[in-house]
């Protein structure tokens, strides 16, 4: 494969659009409208009572969805930054889509917060601006930490994906005409690929990666503190921050496997996304599943060892209560099934990897649902105990959030080059030298 082929393939993936794409976009967009926005408007009209969230269960599936999507967002930018700094060449073909996952997951997550709020038109109250109500945000609250952390992460992720795409926008600019040319001319900012520009990009990109890694870790730690800093049994645990961070990277990595499979199959990127990528991601999933399992065991042990009746009751409810089947489903999908990744044959079999990645994310959503759904309903006073059951509106919005993510991603693949051209070229033989290796993926 030559350099020109890379440009050819990636530009084609942007400008040539078949009926399958339009069908997929219309379906995803339709489901988003029907399952996400209509129920949301219904809830706005009739009030938050349209959801299943009632006292004492004032947090529900929306927040579980929020944690899930924030978690999924940890796939891209964090993993991309770590692999950039560790100089892993296999990152190069997949990181752009992974970073896009981050961006869109964050968008969906913040939208779910707006849905959860019930009256989202007051969302600006979280921002510190002078007002006549003398109402300023309480910066001691983890909820405000969240606003700051997620705002920063969204800014950082957007900047990171955009900056890495500038050279590719320039390459697409040169190959397009009409409105596309105008758009890519604006997006590429007049990039020419001079030695000065490459040098500056390298350093800016490295600094951003260094800044974003601790940021990403802080984001999910802070999300965990929304729960752990309360005194609710089963939530008030010091293990929560690492538990959430590991869970986030775990579900994010599984999300990458799903997206890689879809891109490889439907965008014809077989030459760029190879079995080596699935092999490496499989190893990563295995390691993460073991850490996740360990932390889950520690969470149970800490609750049991505390010796307090409220913690014991919370544990009992989680393991053997109304939602016990969901707990054991989570263990099966997130702790047992990923052990298959021990086998190389499994890691390099694409369909089984796809099924595993979806199963892990079902398990991870369940985990978040259990954290939110089984805690507030079993607090200190048994007379206030309840069973939380999500309403149809809630379930529909959660389903719609996946369609919203898919819609955003489908729009992305037609605007951004979903594989980084210049970085894939870097893994290939430089023109004028003897061929030494396969273009991509062989040097993991």
């Amino acid at each position: 494969m030559r350099y020109a082929d890379v440009n050819e393939d990636i530009v084609r993936s942007i400008v040539e659009t078949g009926p399958k794409y339009y069908i997929a976009l219309a379906t995803a967009g339709g489901i988003t409208l029907l399952c996400f926005f209509f129920p949301w408007f219904y809830q706005l009209y009739y009030g938050i009572g349209a959801s299943g969230m009632h006292h004492p269960q004032v947090w529900g599936t929306y927040l579980a969805g929020f944690i899930f999507w924030i978690g999924l967002s940890h796939s891209g930018t964090l993993l991309s930054c770590v692999l950039l700094l560790t100089n892993s060449t296999w990152r190069k073909a997949m990181y752009r889509s992974a970073e896009a996952m981050t961006l869109f997951s964050l968008m969906v997550a913040t939208t779910l917060v707006a849905v959860h709020l019930g009256r989202p038109w007051f969302i600006h109250w979280t921002l510190p601006y002078p007002n006549q109500m003398e109402m300023w945000p309480n910066f001691r609250s983890p909820l405000l930490f969240d606003v700051m952390a997620i705002g920063t992460y969204l800014t950082g992720s957007s900047v990171f994906i955009y900056m890495g795409s500038i050279p590719d926008f320039a390459a697409v600019r040169d190959r397009t005409a009409g409105w596309r040319n105008t758009m890519y001319t604006l997006l590429s900012l007049g990039w020419r690929g001079t030695d000065r520009e490459w040098h500056r990009l390298h350093w800016a990109y490295t600094f951003l990666a260094v800044l974003i890694i601790p940021l990403a870790v802080s984001v999910h730690s802070i999300v965990s503190w929304d729960f752990a800093m309360s005194i609710v049994p089963a939530l008030h645990q010091t293990i929560f921050a690492p538990y959430f961070v590991v869970g986030a990277i775990y579900s994010g990595t599984a999300g990458i496997v799903t997206v890689m499979f879809v891109l490889r199959k439907y965008m014809n990127f077989e030459q760029y996304i190879t079995k080596v990528h699935f092999d490496n991601l499989g190893k990563l999933l295995l390691v993460l599943s073991l850490i996740w399992t360990y932390i889950n065991a520690i969470e149970l042990f800490t609750g049991w060892y505390s010796g307090t009746s409220t913690e014991h009751e919370a544990l009992n409810y989680k393991l053997f209560g109304y939602y016990a089947w969901l707990y054991w489903e989570m263990i099966l999908f997130c702790a047992v099934a990923p052990l298959l990744c021990i086998f190389r044959r499994f890691r390099t079999s694409l369909v089984p990897m796809l099924i595993l990645s979806i199963a892990i994310n079902i398990g991870m959503y369940t985990e978040r649902f259990l954290i939110v759904g089984t805690s507030l309903s079993r607090k200190y006073l048994p007379d206030a105990w309840t069973v939380y059951v999500p309403s149809v509106v809630e379930l529909s919005i959660i389903l719609g959030s996946f369609a919203l993510f898919t819609t955003l991603f489908l729009v992305f693949v037609k605007i951004f080059p979903s594989v980084s051209m210049y970085e894939v070229k870097e893994t290939m033989d430089v023109p004028g030298t003897e061929p030494t290796a396969q273009p991509e993926g062989s040097s993991a």
């Binding site: 030559r2 350099y3 020109a4 440009n7 510190p128 003398e134 109402m135 300023w136 945000p137 309480n138 910066f139 001691r140 609250s141 405000l144 930490f145 700051m148 952390a149 705002g151 920063t152 800014t155 950082g156 900047v159 900056m163 500038i166 050279p167 320039a170 390459a171 040169d174 900012l189 007049g190 990039w191 020419r192 690929g193 001079t194 030695d195 000065r196 520009e197 490459w198 040098h199 500056r200 990009l201 390298h202 350093w203 800016a204 600094f207 951003l208 800044l211 974003i212 601790p214 940021l215 802080s218 802070i222 051209m421 210049y422 070229k425 870097e426 430089v430 023109p431 004028g432 030298t433």
Partner: protein
């Protein structure tokens, strides 16, 4: 109006050799355009220093100070005493400080990148679209025709596939 001699090369090594020869011959305004970052360019065209790290550092410092002042200032201006605890409480405010340190660090890094890479370009500059695909180009500013002929000879000698005369406004 400045004129440029632009040599187009198939291989990065030839382009680098041409840039080295032009530099030795006394040409000052040299640029190498390529589809990927070229290794060894600093050995030929001299070590590059960028101000980005200063932007990042001072951005982070400004962000940290702003974060703490925002949280502490809010607490002082809008008093909310709780349980006799201090009004300015360091542990939670350090988190706001931390987040804004990173936010400002990111924003200033981007600013530093734009300024030092001279982007966005506000006028047309010498550019060959082939360099975004698989070619490597060396562009050199020439004062007059004599200068151009010299540069052209050096570029051809280094193995340029073609040498073009291009002009840049300003």
């Amino acid at each position: 109006m400045t004129n440029f001699a632009v040599g187009l090369f198939h291989e990065p090594q030839s382009a680098l050799a041409a840039a080295g020869s032009l530099k030795s011959a006394g040409f000052a305004t040299l640029e190498l355009m390529s589809p990927i970052p070229v290794e060894g360019v600093e050995e030929v065209l001299g070590e590059k220093k960028s101000v980005i790290k200063r932007f990042t550092f001072f951005g982070a410092v400004i962000g940290g100070l702003s974060g703490f002042l925002l949280a502490a200032g809010t607490a002082v201006l809008y008093l909310h005493p709780t349980g006799g605890r201090p009004i300015i409480t360091f542990p939670p405010y350090l988190i706001i400080t931390y987040e804004l340190t990173i936010l400002f660090g990111i924003v200033f890094t981007v600013l530093g990148f734009f300024i030092s890479a001279r982007l966005p370009a506000l006028r047309d500059r010498v550019y060959l679209p082939e360099t975004a695909v698989d070619k490597f180009a060396v562009s050199v500013a020439c004062d007059d025709d004599k200068h151009f002929k010299r540069a052209e000879a050096i570029l051809n000698e280094a193995g340029a596939e073609q040498v073009r005369k291009m002009a840049e406004e300003g």
